[in-house]
Symmetry: C2
């Protein structure tokens, strides 16, 4: 197996192996349960270290493309359609490796990242902050950082006190703590469909049952929501209020108020995941702002803007619940990394973070407008035009799923698996398009390719 | 309430507030459920920011000294003995704040930390490693770091392949992932008594029942172990094989072999937590080495030696189980911090880490010998003389618990609560002594104080 590794590329070698193996599985239409050549063989024939090959294989196991059988190495996953790309929530930030442009990617391209301010802040903390260098983080998080977060929330009309904010290692830890604090196996919660795949996995891990609410361009379908609430008495609703992943859509104030009313009336806990908040100029309707602190649990993050490696997110909620999360955080992580928090606090205090998000918003706005135009030219159907965030949700006139993925590969574009965003694994021909990748010529060619197949067959 | 805050001290202000409040609760013998003055009042009268006061109170909530009631602020915890100090597993690394010398502390004093190499490695990664700065960590962890870990394990006679090591955010995440992967509510496991309090909390959080095995100076009591295994069929045994927390004792080869045999015969999973491994020159009997990879899950960490803030630990086990942990790690943390892992990999590759642990071992050996001598002079009973690690477990001739804590306060020394290391909350007059604090004159005075009360009353 030859993998075409480019050691000069910005893309890490492991990601290139992941992409190469994905290509081998997907384009080669390899049958499920087919054994991979041995790690040693792959490493030798491509002049790679075995540990890089193992790492790449493990990523593909985590993504569900490969399976592992002890003693007999890696094989193509048996539940896998031979025609799907890498998982929709692939965690790597790699841009354009061998297997194609990551048009479906969930984070900013590496080429968009700005190292200067971050690197400076890191060096400052490393030079001057003994506590940041050595100590466990504190249960609630660094006071200086939490003060900055309280100020930022005020800017979104979310009024919280000092004892109502807890820092986390990215929003992921926030979601994890909340799920562990609130639910036990057999509990039932509402999630949006399409929605955020790692949340579905997390709920499955805890044995929590999911009820799907269709996401519409102005928020979750409130009629369906009411029916589900009345029928199943779910304990909570998870919602991406703004620039939702994957649809890019945002709550309108009317829908937000209706949701708040429904949830309050039926004692449904609201968990508002707002990790894309900083990728938009405007204010918008936040449940945590409208709810006036009553029962809404709010999640924020700096991973989508600053860095996914310096992992800092936060949860804002009532003080009692925050204290409960702090206890689980202490027990499960001994407080997290004070270093990452000190770096963030410094970037927030100096204004460097504010300027960074201004530049990102500007650049995303330009690319988003261009991407929407390109999609319109190519007669794709767009699911509500997003005003901020990273994603556009759209589908081509060509409705045949297999054909679509074949065309994408032909254009050097990687798409999400058709079932990547559905809590129940339902397949869809809608695509999550990361606007930061959408101006690449490969993406443009891919958008246009479908034109040949019109008129659309329903 | 006046807190005596010293803004020039090395000890962070929040830690000073924690210590001051602890002193107020403990020395003032405040009744359970007594309300604290309001956060605003405490902040004003001590010229502190409210967020620092809240953070300190939250730490005390996490430690079980304070409770929070929404709307009415903080109060002294109702289940609390008025005579106990800060929790045994207090996560702060603070040294000698107002409330006293942290003789019971679980980590190295800040004054022992060596910032130069760590700071240099951080600055190098910040300057040169774009992937480390920005990307999510990978499911198994950075390949370069895992290669180094495999080499280090070989030095302990633990032979594992590339696909058998997973990095974690400190050993805490390792324990957390293992508990989530293996157990469900109602399961039953074996833990050592005395033992590591955060593990007990973690197991309680998951609803796992604990069976206590007494820790003896050569390892767990194997007779009791066999009886418990035959009677209750527990699913696993958690064990600190070397320099155990809190007793400082290590497994002998004979006990290790007996444990392996018992656990293999009765299908009990062995989880070997070896986070103090680097604080000792010798090799010693590791279950993971003797077990030859069969079923032993091994946990390591760099938090005890290098930094608790640059959080890196690892788990070594069979490849299938490691892949299972990697999936939970991905879902619950999106892979962790690539930055911290890149820093560790650089320090391991350059040899700086090896030299650091050599210096630490030397310094600890000197202080340990001096502490053992001082305890012998003062006629304390010592639980087996440890040959490595951070702790000595000992008790004074004076057996009255209340008197002991009173004397400690009089000498400016903070002790663990009497029930800090027992899974079932049993009280004990044995003390965990951090050898790095034991040469402080306050500790010496405290050791000697008991002499007046001899002969010991049984």
């Amino acid at each position: 197996m030859e993998l075409r590794i480019d050691r000069q590329a910005m893309v890490p070698v492991v990601q290139q192996i992941v992409d190469g193996l994905t290509e081998w599985i997907v384009q080669g239409e390899v049958a499920p349960a087919t054994r991979l050549p041995s790690v040693r063989q792959i490493a030798r024939s491509n002049l790679l270290s075995q540990s890089c090959v193992v790492e790449a294989c493990e990523r593909l196991v985590a993504q569900g493309l490969l399976a592992v059988r002890p003693g007999s190495g890696f094989m193509v996953a048996s539940g896998l359609s031979a025609r799907c790309g890498p998982a929709g929530y692939a965690v790597g930030g790699a841009g354009d490796a061998a297997a194609g442009l990551r048009l479906c990617c969930g984070v900013l391209p590496e080429s968009w990242r700005e190292p200067d301010d971050l690197s400076y802040a890191i060096r400052q903390v490393a030079r001057t902050d003994m506590a940041g260098l050595f100590n466990y983080g504190t249960p609630l998080g660094l006071p200086a950082l939490r003060e900055q977060i309280v100020k930022r929330l005020k800017g979104l009309d979310i009024k919280v006190g000092d004892d109502q904010v807890l820092t986390t290692a990215g929003a992921s830890q926030g979601l994890d703590l909340i799920v562990r604090a609130l639910f036990k196996a057999g509990d039932c919660v509402l999630v949006e469909s399409p929605g955020y795949a790692p949340l579905f996995e997390l709920l499955r891990l805890q044995g929590v049952r999911m009820l799907e609410v269709r996401r519409l361009p102005d928020g979750p379908d409130t009629e369906a929501l009411e029916t589900l609430i009345r029928s199943f008495r779910p304990r909570a609703l998870f919602i991406n209020s703004h620039h939702q992943n994957p649809t890019g859509s945002s709550l309108t104030p009317a829908v937000a108020k209706r949701i708040l009313m429904l949830c309050k009336a039926h004692d449904v806990r609201l968990i508002e995941d707002d990790v894309y908040a900083d990728l938009h100029h405007g204010r918008g309707a936040r449940l945590a702002a409208l709810g006036d602190g009553h029962g809404v649990i709010y999640i924020g993050s700096f991973s989508k803007t600053l860095s996914s490696s310096i992992r800092v997110g936060y949860v804002a909620a009532d003080a009692e619940f925050i204290a409960q999360l702090a206890r689980i955080k202490t027990v499960s992580s001994l407080g997290g990394s004070g270093f990452c928090e000190a770096v963030l606090a410094s970037l927030l205090a100096s204004g460097a973070y504010r300027k960074l998000v201004q530049r990102l918003r500007q650049r995303l706005a330009t690319d988003r407008a261009a991407a929407l135009e390109a999609l319109e030219d190519a007669e794709w159907e767009v699911f509500g035009k997003p005003a901020g965030g990273l994603f556009i949700w759209a589908r081509p006139a060509l409705a045949d799923e297999a054909r679509l993925h074949e065309r994408a590969r032909g254009c050097g574009v990687a798409l999400s698996p058709p079932d990547a965003f559905s809590p129940s694994g339902e397949r869809s021909d809608w695509q999550r398009i990361n606007v930061a990748y959408a101006c690449d010529p490969r993406a443009r060619r891919f958008f246009q390719e479908g034109m040949a197949d019109r008129p659309r067959v329903f």
